[in-house]
């Protein structure tokens, strides 16, 4: 089954309901991991929303991805506590190590790097998460090592 058919199937409950756009996109992304062009077109068609509006929503919210996600997701926290304790330096080290910018995926497709605001464990600041695992009390060197040795 092609992407378009799969998406049409997924968003069938929202047929003809333009107000459900965000719900529909959520659903598609939870299955595909991102929102390829064909998926956006299919959502527009089934819900009856102009393509330009689908694009507007997809690009407005950082949650929606227009590029495939990496195998693992690194979430670097830049919330207040992490910001104060050098979260930016951790983020820069990781981005430098993987040669990506926040929101991008490394060339080998292994890691996507995301910036988040608070992971709820400020006592460990600065923190990051790789998939479901939390890494705390980081510094640039430690963060680089974790990413390098992650398998």
């Amino acid at each position: 089954m092609g992407v378009a058919e799969k998406v049409r199937e997924l968003v069938r409950p929202y047929r003809g309901k333009p107000t459900e756009l965000i719900q529909a996109l959520h659903r598609v992304q939870s299955v595909l991991g991102w929102l390829p062009r064909e998926a956006q077109e299919a959502v527009a068609e089934v819900l009856g929303v102009p393509a330009s509006q689908v694009r507007g929503v997809v690009t407005f919210y950082h949650f929606f991805r227009t590029k495939p996600a990496g195998k693992h997701t690194i979430r670097v926290c830049l919330g207040t506590a992490c910001h104060v304790r050098g979260g930016e330096r951790v983020l820069n080290a990781i981005c430098d190590e993987l040669e990506v910018k926040p929101g991008e995926t490394s060339v080998d497709g292994k890691f996507s790097v995301e910036v988040v605001r608070c992971l709820g464990c400020c006592g460990l600041a600065p923190v990051m998460m790789i998939d479901e695992e939390v890494y705390g009390r980081l510094d640039p060197t430690k963060a680089r090592r974790i990413v390098r040795e992650f398998s």
Binding site: R37, P50, A51, S52, V54, R55, G56, T59, F60
Partner: protein, 233 residues
């Protein structure tokens, strides 16, 4: 009928009319940029801000605020002039608005406003991001560097033409007006090529191909003409 005062002048207005419309009829000038007759008001540019005396001096966009009985509106004052000039300065600082090389030089609403409000310099650092120019359309072009994100093209496209080709993508300072799913304009499957967006655009961001510096004259009034000609339902 509702009675209110604007700059000390008693003005009568219909229920549902905006302060801007009432002021216009009374011959009181309020500068506007994102507002265009025939399109829904957006309140995006904030140039039409007015002060409401009996709301504790609150500032509201007159294009999107309905009249109310007994309102005391200040439409022109040194404070408002300064605010409007500051807003203009921020618009000028955000992208490239160097008039000398613009197709709309001399026929530009942004330029006219700068002259009207006496904006002779900009106190903010110019950002000048390097944005692209899309010339893929057969008849028209879009230069994002000249765009002020007023959304008149977007509204003309959806409310008057009904094509809904244009939309805003991204957000904040990265916002762009883009066609369909971010395609080159010429590749758009929904664009009818009607050109209403070009006529509605207040600056040189949207232009007809083949126009050189200063040659692009716009006819934003066609938007109202087209909508008025429609039968009322």
């Amino acid at each position: 009928m509702i009675t209110l005062t604007i700059d000390g002048i008693k003005v009568q207005a219909e229920e549902g009319e905006t302060i801007l419309q009432a002021a216009k009829r009374a011959g009181i000038r309020i500068p506007t940029l994102c507002y265009l007759e025939g399109l829904s008001p957006r309140g995006a540019c904030r140039l039409c801000l007015v002060e409401i005396r009996n709301w504790g001096g609150r500032l509201v966009p007159s294009c999107a605020t309905p009249v109310q009985e007994g309102l005391e509106v200040v439409a022109n004052s040194p404070r408002l002039r300064e605010l409007r000039r500051t807003i203009l300065e921020m618009i000028f600082a955000e992208r490239n608005h160097i008039c000398a090389f613009c197709v709309s030089n001399g026929h530009c609403e942004l330029q006219d406003l700068a002259m009207e409000l006496g904006m002779d310099h900009v106190r903010f650092p110019y950002r000048w991001p390097l944005l692209f120019v899309d010339l893929s359309h057969e008849k028209y072009g879009i230069d994002h560097n000249r765009c002020v994100l007023c959304g008149r093209c977007v509204r003309a496209c959806s409310e008057v033409e009904g094509a809904m080709t244009w939309g805003f993508s991204n957000r904040g300072i990265f916002t762009l007006v883009e066609a369909d799913l971010g395609d080159p304009w010429g590749k758009s499957t929904t664009c009818t090529g009607c050109g209403k967006c070009v006529q509605a655009c207040p600056t040189g961001a949207l232009f007809e191909k083949g126009k050189a510096t200063s040659e692009q004259v716009k006819k934003p009034e066609i938007i109202l003409e087209v909508t008025e000609r429609r039968p009322r339902v």
